[in-house]
Symmetry: C3
């Protein structure tokens, strides 16, 4: 897109060459053909060295720029608008079932549903109005998918999974796999046995939930593994059987929640953190990156970190221990010296 | 299912309304339409506040309940039996090859094998009797799959992978990907090179192994990456090239084992733990959640935790360090005061 | 393959039985039918107890062996050569589009491209010469894949993804999923809202990049998530939106890089490590296994470890704290005793 056309669309004015622009990018990462943006004079040095072909700047900018300039009232906002123009067009998923898709005759399809190529939908499933099931998806028997939900390619839903309205499931999501449950011990003859515990429950996902690529959520042993409404789950997260997430919570990439744990409302579980099984995290608690939580958190600490998880203050104390020890060593050495001196003096004094 | 019918099937007696029941659930998570259970009078408060429509209770329960009651000899056992009745029926995977599946003419299929829609089985593969290969699976050239093994949708087996009898592979399992191996350095002219080391071996899985959703196991550089019999692997686990797991071990979700490490028999590697490459974990050792094991473990500690992994006692000592330091500070202060007093007194005494 | 034939191919001489050999394996893991190797007399005990059917040994080996011996100048090198002979033949992916593949008529296919069964390539995509797109792959609208790139089964590329030349993408890789981005707060009426931030950018992968099984890389919010040339990424790695990896770096299994972080050239991020968002890792820095990096690293430390990440020396100091505290306790006790003795003596002396 020509810079002049973009300036017109964004309601700004072009200064300099009418360059061709193809994408947006931050000042440092931008390459020729990119549009960048800046509103803060403190970043003037980054503007001066950017490789962007054009930069969005506010009307009062007086630090110059090494490329074309488009002056706009709000550079941040204008860049977001430009990004929408540059973005690859969102693929159209028109209503209809692709001729290669296998949809069992008993499946109840809502209105205006899209089913992509090579997708399998097994018997008894129900798909709500305007749902989009993309290519190469597997929907097991009796699954129920709410209206407006969007399922990207190569997702698998094992039998009986329930998904609410307006959810988004990214590529490679696995819902309803068997939970990890075994009994083991020794038989009377001394030999070891390991037996699978049947995983008879389901996974139920509330409305407005988003689940990232390759995340796995196991079916309940009995009852439901439940993800409450508006919960946002990132990529590669593991959620064990019978976990309950109340809703409006976030679980960041590669975090894990073990079986039967309960996460309150409005919680944030940061990346690579782990929640032990059978514990409860109170509403609104944040669990920091890589933290490991072995016991229930009642909300008296709003943010925990470390393994085992503790307050920031407690973790800082552990990290500071070597420094404090060094200080104590110095003090002890001084005490020793004083004591020796006193002993010597005393010897003389008493002599 | 009517509560009265359920009572009859479970050999119990119904007290209260003949409600409709649809699922099982714990006392706290249960919703209307659910059946719950309790055998311990100490949980009477949870029974009193449950939202379940009916609850399984032992004959001698005298704490009442806010809903219908089904009295049975063993509530736990009865709930498990009820869960089987409520569970979505396990999909039938009848023997036969789906017409859309692509099975090379050279493949040797055992008796009563199921092959699902859009599955690809390449040349030279062998599939044992009664094996189930569900929809959208990829089985590479020359793979061998044992009798009775069940492979869920969207699993990929790269060429040459060997799987034993009665294994279960959940959705998205990746076996036989190239191990991570590169040589790098500088050429005589100073430029950097990074070269791929060919990964010429295979993955071999013993009998009775279960592998969770989206878990990855790499092929050996040379020889075999080996998972011994009855090993149970959870979701999102990573197992590097040339790893050996003796058997009868468990690897919990998101744990990782680096290349050429060896895990003994009867080990348990807890969630998010990491085992370094080229080390050995002795039989029966447990590695705690999020632990990082940099060196071989000879079994003298049966349970390790932390990074680097250590005994519970050692980890506790580190966690307790700040408290101990505070105590030492107090003692040193007291010593100082005493010393000052003595010096003052000595001054007088000697004066 | 007969041991005699193998000896001939490897330019060695066979001593002992002309056994049948099927695979290579280390001395300890080898089983009957395996060929093993040893060049170091210090490992003579392992040779003595190996279960291999034959072993490659150097000409001057005088410690014997419990099986057939093939003498060669360089046993390591010969074993690698033998492994190539034993390896399952690499499947041939001949040029051509499988009849079940769905390639949109607008797709530009280079010369000699292979497209496997049930693969979907959407409109406007471009595939370079000699590229291999295996079975069951999804290539979204407008994706560009460079010449010679190999994509294994069940990879998904969301719309607009760009991949360089000679890359390798292993099974289950997910490129271009939406980044994790939401705005949330409270409306005037007190109710909570959580809104998705549009993810309008793309993923761009440089030349010679390898990406392991089930790894996920999110599309940028604006602009590009960028993986520079020759970067080697292992399995189950998570890379957030707008991350930049300069190139020639390694990211080991289960590591994660949060949104907008920048990784320099020649970095090595070890297994299960985590890099926080919006920070920079200088060229050549190594981040140890399970380390958590909360702040930018300027390269003054070449290797960091622990959470929060620190130098080896700093981590060792924390680990050693309990020992040092015990020593201080002993010293304080001794001081106390001396002080008591002095006081007693002083009492007498002054009396």
């Amino acid at each position: 897109m020509k810079a002049s056309e973009l300036a017109r669309v964004l309601g700004g004015t072009l200064e300099g060459d009418d360059v061709d622009l193809f994408a947006c990018g931050g000042l440092e990462e931008a390459r020729p053909g990119d549009l960048s943006f800046c509103k803060d004079p403190r970043h003037a040095a980054l503007v001066a060295t950017t490789k962007a072909s054009a930069v969005l700047l506010p009307p009062d900018w007086d630090r110059g720029a090494p490329c074309a300039v488009i002056r706009v009232a709000d550079p941040d906002h204008a860049c977001m608008a430009a990004a929408r123009l540059f973005a690859p067009p969102e693929p159209v998923r028109a209503p209809g079932v692709h001729p290669t898709a296998l949809v069992d005759s008993s499946v109840r399809l809502g209105k205006e549903v899209h089913v992509g190529a090579f997708t399998v939908i097994e018997k008894g499933a129900e798909i709500g109005d305007n749902a989009v099931i993309e290519a190469q998806v597997f929907v097991g028997e009796g699954c129920r998918i709410g209206a407006g939900t969007h399922i990207y390619p190569q997702v698998t839903l094992r039998e009986g999974t329930i998904i609410g309205r307006d959810c988004i499931l990214h590529c490679g999501v696995r819902l309803g796999g068997d939970g990890y449950g075994f009994t083991n011990g020794r038989r009377e003859d001394g030999s070891i046995f390991i037996e699978k515990i049947p995983q008879l429950g389901i996974v139920e996902i509330g409305d407005g939930v988003e689940i990232g690529s390759n995340t796995t959520i196991d079916r309940a042993r009995i009852g439901r593994t439940y993800i409450g409404p508006m919960t946002k789950i990132d990529n590669l997260v593991q959620i064990g059987h019978n976990v309950k997430v109340k809703g409006y919570s976030g679980l960041i990439a590669q975090s894990g929640v073990a079986g039967s744990a309960e996460i309150g409302a409005g919680c944030l579980i940061w990346a690579q953190a782990g929640i032990s099984g059978h514990i409860k995290i109170a509403d609104g608690v944040q669990v920091g990156p890589q933290a490991g939580v072995p016991q229930s958190l009642d909300g008296s600490a709003k943010y925990v970190i470390g393994t085992p998880a503790m307050s920031m203050k407690e973790l800082a104390a552990i990290t500071l221990a070597p420094k404090l020890i060094s200080k104590l060593k110095v003090e002890i050495k001084a005490l020793k010296a004083e004591l020796e001196a006193l002993k010597a003096e005393h010897g003389r004094g008493a002599g």
